[in-house]
């Protein structure tokens, strides 16, 4: 019996209420909860048994009085109304307008959980996105339809980097591009930075924003990314737009999930996070990609702050196991004033293998990038040796590596916050820096490449 109203709840436990003698209610169904002043908040059915129904209340259970609380089961899951009119608008974490411009009309309603894409419907993403950032384009190439998170730490310039990617990736300003921005538990200032920068540098008409700010109800954070991704899928697969989804901060999302799990009395897994954290994150991150026969695409750049800068913490760890690589920011590089402070060795783009090289970027791209990784990792070894024996005691070879490392960081990695570099320019610079190395170090580039690209060997 959908839509019947029930008066009174048995228990209130954290963000949950327990209701008895309910019938005909479906798992995951949406609930309207009315307090004694007649105000409505939303909730969702979390478990069902003959004795009682457990309802998770978005916006929390504060002020609810067991005897007078009324529940109406709506017979449908949590939905969002999707339409073209969403472009340029700002919503709260539950998909309600927060810009004072009223409801969006028309369109269709969909379940925010989405459905798993049939892997046969997918098309393997291969289109290179030129972000104009040397470190990304050359070494952790972003591909249209990829899910490539930024692993950052508090105080590192992840917001600037995300904005630079979004604006320089020519996602803005063109008709078939859109940005969906989801702020989860973020500070007012961060939210303002994103919205302002994105609208200043492009057309504000191409952005849809979902904001759950730090002081908004924690439980709404579970819904926020799903609202954003449902919108992105609609824009991409039905309107044919190339959509870039920026979600920040995934750490707040996971913490909300933990808080709710603990309140529900679930058996926790690593560091108190629920055992289903992997599956839950996957249900978000997998909502990126390219679908065969459809012109749009969904590219995701989730941002997360690593607790204590620890990459083995469950949040970055499980994320890295699901996403198609990661861009890791380094506090050390940042403190040396290198922007973007990308730690290339721990960063990875899993999709670059098919999106670079002949016919995509440039023929020498795969091998030159591999060589940069190999040599820069040698630089780290030599630096730690130099820390022990002193730079003067290093061999000639090792000193050349140090010099290479310096050039790599100062010239190649470092660039302006609005500087755009073409991929060809970045690759040429890579060769130029590599030519400082002894030839025996060049094991990743082929003999042919060496003769073609390193001036002192070309003759």
């Amino acid at each position: 019996m959908a839509n019947a109203e029930y008066i009174g709840v048995k228990d209130i436990i954290g963000p949950f209420v327990l209701v008895e003698n309910v019938s005909g209610v479906g798992y995951g169904e949406l609930v309207d909860i009315r307090d004694n002043k007649g105000r409505i908040r939303h909730g969702q059915v979390k478990s069902l048994s003959e004795k009682a129904t457990l309802v998770q209340v978005f916006t929390g259970t504060g002020d609810l009085i067991p005897n007078t609380t009324k529940l109406r089961f709506l017979g449908k899951p949590l939905e969002i109304r999707l339409s073209k009119n969403m472009l340029g608008r700002t919503f709260n974490g539950l998909g309600e307008p927060r810009d004072g411009c009223g409801e969006t009309y028309g369109g269709k309603r969909v379940n925010i959980n989405g459905l798993p894409l049939n892997p046969m419907a997918r098309q393997y993403p291969k289109d290179f996105i030129n972000t104009g950032i040397s470190a990304i384009d050359t070494l952790t190439t972003l591909i249209r339809g990829q899910k490539l998170p930024i692993f950052s730490g508090n105080g590192l310039p992840h917001n600037q980097l995300a904005v630079q990617i979004a604006t320089q990736a020519k996602i803005m300003g063109s008709d078939d591009f859109a940005v969906v921005f989801a702020g989860i538990g973020i500070k007012h200032d961060d939210a303002a930075y994103f919205t302002q920068e994105l609208s200043n540098r492009g057309h504000s008409n191409n952005i849809v924003t979902f904001l759950n700010l730090a002081d908004d109800p924690v439980i709404e954070r579970i819904a926020t990314p799903r609202m954003a991704l449902s919108t992105a899928e609609y824009l991409a697969y039905e309107l044919g737009l190339h959509v870039l989804v920026i979600i920040t901060d995934m750490t707040s999302y996971c913490e909300a999930l933990r808080e709710i799990g603990v309140a529900a009395g679930e058996v926790p897994s690593r560091k108190g996070y629920p055992a289903y954290l992997y599956s839950d994150l996957a249900s978000l991150y997998e909502r990126a990609g390219v679908v065969r026969g459809v012109s749009g695409s969904v590219t995701q750049i989730p941002i997360l702050t690593m607790p204590n800068d620890d990459i083995t913490h469950p949040i970055p760890d499980l994320t890295g196991f699901i996403t198609e690589g990661q861009i890791v920011l380094s506090r050390d590089l940042d403190s040396r004033n290198i922007y973007p402070p990308i730690d290339i060795l721990t960063s990875l783009s899993r999709l670059m293998k098919d999106g670079i090289g002949k016919g995509y970027t440039r023929e020498d791209h795969p091998s030159v990038s591999s060589q940069l990784f190999a040599s820069y990792s040698r630089v780290q070894e030599v630096r730690s040796l130099a820390g022990v024996v002193g730079e003067d005691e290093l061999s000639k070879n090792d000193r050349m590596l140090l010099e290479f490392g310096k050039l790599f960081e100062e010239k190649f990695l470092k660039q302006g916050k609005e500087e755009e570099r073409e991929i060809g320019y970045s690759l040429d610079m890579a060769w130029e820096i590599l030519s400082n190395l002894p030839r025996s170090e060049l094991t990743r580039v082929s003999l042919t490449d060496i003769h073609e690209h390193i001036r002192k060997y070309t003759d």
Partner: protein, 601 residues
């Protein structure tokens, strides 16, 4: 779908009393069987009974339970979780519970919605059938009744089910027949006639039987130098690839699925990315099997429960895969199965166990984790089938330890049940030394067993060279510890030569890019490279002992080029010979100059 097992008939109904995600409970279940497959609610979601308590049953549901209500109906199927086996498996792509994803795509569109039921195999597809048995033959389980040319490479043998025994009274005619047809009738000792269908069913949790187990003796050649050369796996062997995220588990599994020396390959994407399955789907039809020259898809079967698909079906996907593997093994084929990742399967067990409120053992995993792992890996092996042929199943499981820590329960227990360990090293992966298989942590218990094959098929010195190389790498490991503390320059030259030779092995031999012409490297090519390196080492060692400084030995283009030998094509004999010659000329010249100088002093 007709029932096969002897579970009580179908007209029984239970009632849902509890729903919590993929785990539900139902009452009035007394007439259902433990492990019976059931249909739940109006959408007829597929589930499996996992525990029985009086009138009540706990059911794990393989599909999303959103919208399910209490007091809805549960009906039985009369059988335990089963799949179809028969012509049409090869080249197909199934979900964790055996639903064909191409059929779902046609009927449902781009998304997979709950409650869709489709036959696993197409019963209307017509096959070219050739009978093998004839009326009057005595038929027992495992005997081949008829054959179907399923692909240009593979003859699909239709076998009598294991419990068959009796006289064949009728057999299918030679020619075109639909997959749904019967192939024979057999009359047993009591005069009962049983029909044998072309497409049969098998319960996935029950291993298929064989006559006898054999010891592995032939390598499963992978075309990956570090594996074939240092840590080989045998046909019928078991291996695991543990590694943190991004260290190369999936790429290695894909490499083995592409280039591994098997007649049938089953690839299970278990709780991993959708795009990785798409990658295989797009590549395998166009890539050629290096041995047969045919498209790889003609020997491949894909199974996917991607990370965003329901978690209970993840648990099932492993069994679906290994059952298909056993079915082809029973025809006398060498089958290889890759499971990426077994950790996701273990985590599915943990998630379900948690919802069942079972008492957890280590890190939340149920106490039966090790026995489930053992059961899975034990389904590998080289056997004599009931049809009297030799077949094998090679199992390679990826393991995804949290934080890359190999002491966690899944890695630790898996190590107990496998014999080949390819440990991936984060630092190697960071330096893009691929495959990032650590030459220090990895091991293979098959190396001895397959050495004979390599000696007679590749080179009689195979084992000897392997030992020498391992010796250098082991010594280098010690030398590197010292280098980290004092630098290289202060070491004696013979140690520096060890370090340098190890450098050549690492960069010239072990390193192998999967995405280029070096992707498949036949054992003979790897052997050539190693011989060049070891020849250089021995000669250089002689010079070092004579007091010639290592810098003179190292610094020459001919020596630099050792790390580029892998750029040569495998059959470029001249290329290898030329490289050898140039190295020798260089070393001879260094030696001669030394003698001249000494003589002149």
């Amino acid at each position: 779908m007709e029932a096969k097992t002897n579970i009580a008939p179908n007209n029984k109904e239970g009632t849902v009393t509890f729903v919590n995600g993929p785990v539900i409970k139902a009452s009035n279940m007394r007439n259902f069987a433990m492990r019976e497959v059931v249909k739940v609610g109006p959408k007829k979601l597929m589930g499996e009974i996992i525990s029985m308590d009086g009138d009540n049953a706990t059911i794990q549901v393989y599909e999303d339970t959103d919208g399910l209500s209490i007091y809805e109906t549960v009906t039985g199927s009369g059988e335990s979780l089963s799949i179809e086996v028969g012509p049409g498996l090869i080249g197909s792509f199934f979900d964790g519970i055996g639903r064909p994803l191409n059929a779902l795509l046609e009927s449902e569109g781009m998304y997979i919605s709950p409650g869709t039921s489709v036959n696993m195999l197409n019963h209307d597809k017509v096959w070219d059938v050739t009978p093998v048995a004839k009326p009057g033959d005595l038929i027992t389980g495992g005997m081949v009744i008829a054959t179907v040319q399923e692909t240009p490479l593979l003859i699909h043998k239709i076998m009598a089910p294991p419990d068959t025994e009796g006289e064949l009274t009728w057999v299918i005619s030679k020619g075109q027949h639909k997959g749904g047809e019967m192939v024979a009738k057999v009359k047993d000792a009591f005069g009962r006639e049983v029909s044998i269908p072309m497409i049969q069913r098998w319960p996935v949790r029950t291993p298929r039987l064989y006559r006898e187990r054999l010891l592995p003796n032939e390598p499963f050649v992978t075309g990956q130098r570090v594996i074939d050369g240092l840590f080989p796996i045998a046909k019928g062997g078991t291996a695991c690839i543990p590694g943190g995220f991004g260290t190369g588990k999936t790429v290695t599994q894909h490499q083995l699925a592409k280039w591994g020396d098997a007649q049938v390959v089953i690839y299970i994407g278990c709780g991993e990315r959708g795009n990785e399955m798409t990658d295989v789907l797009e590549q395998f039809p166009v890539l050629e099997d290096p041995r047969s020259g045919r498209p790889l898809m003609e020997r491949t079967i894909l199974i996917a429960n991607t990370s965003n698909m329901p978690v209970a079906a993840r648990e099932a996907s492993i069994y679906t895969g290994i059952t298909i593997a056993e079915y082809f093994r029973d025809m006398g084929y060498d089958v290889a199965i890759m499971a990426d990742s077994t950790s996701r399967w273990a985590e599915a067990l943990r998630e379900l166990s948690g919802r069942l409120e079972e008492i957890p053992a280590e890190e939340g995993f149920p106490a039966y984790l090790p026995s489930r792992l053992a059961e899975f890996y034990e389904r590998a092996g080289r056997v004599v089938t009931f049809g009297g042929e030799n077949g094998s199943i090679t199992v390679i499981g990826a393991v995804s330890p949290p934080g890359g820590d190999f002491t966690e329960p899944v890695t630790r227990h898996t190590k107990r049940f496998i014999r080949c360990f390819w440990g991936l090293d984060k630092n190697l992966a960071n330096a893009r030394h691929y495959p990032a298989i650590s030459w220090i942590d990895s091991y293979s218990e098959y190396a001895e067993e397959v050495n004979g094959w390599f000696c007679s098929n590749i080179d009689p010195r195979w084992g000897e060279v392997r030992d020498e190389v391992r010796q250098i790498l082991a010594e280098d490991n010690k030398v590197q510890q010292v280098i980290k503390l004092v630098g290289e320059d202060v070491l004696p030259d013979d140690q520096r030569l060890v370090a340098f030779t190890a450098f050549l092995i690492k960069n010239g031999y072990l390193q192998q890019n999967s995405f280029g012409s070096d992707s498949y490297s036949p054992p003979s090519k790897g052997f050539e490279i190693l011989e060049v390196i070891m020849e250089f080492y021995k000669k250089a060692l002689g010079l070092v002992r004579k007091g010639i400084p290592i810098s003179l030995i190292k610094e020459d283009e001919s020596v630099d080029s050792i790390t580029h030998l892998r750029e040569l094509s495998p059959d470029d004999k001249d290329g290898f010979a030329l490289a050898r010659k140039r190295i020798n000329v260089h070393l001879d010249r260094v030696a001669a100059e030394r003698t001249r100088k000494l003589g002149g002093e």
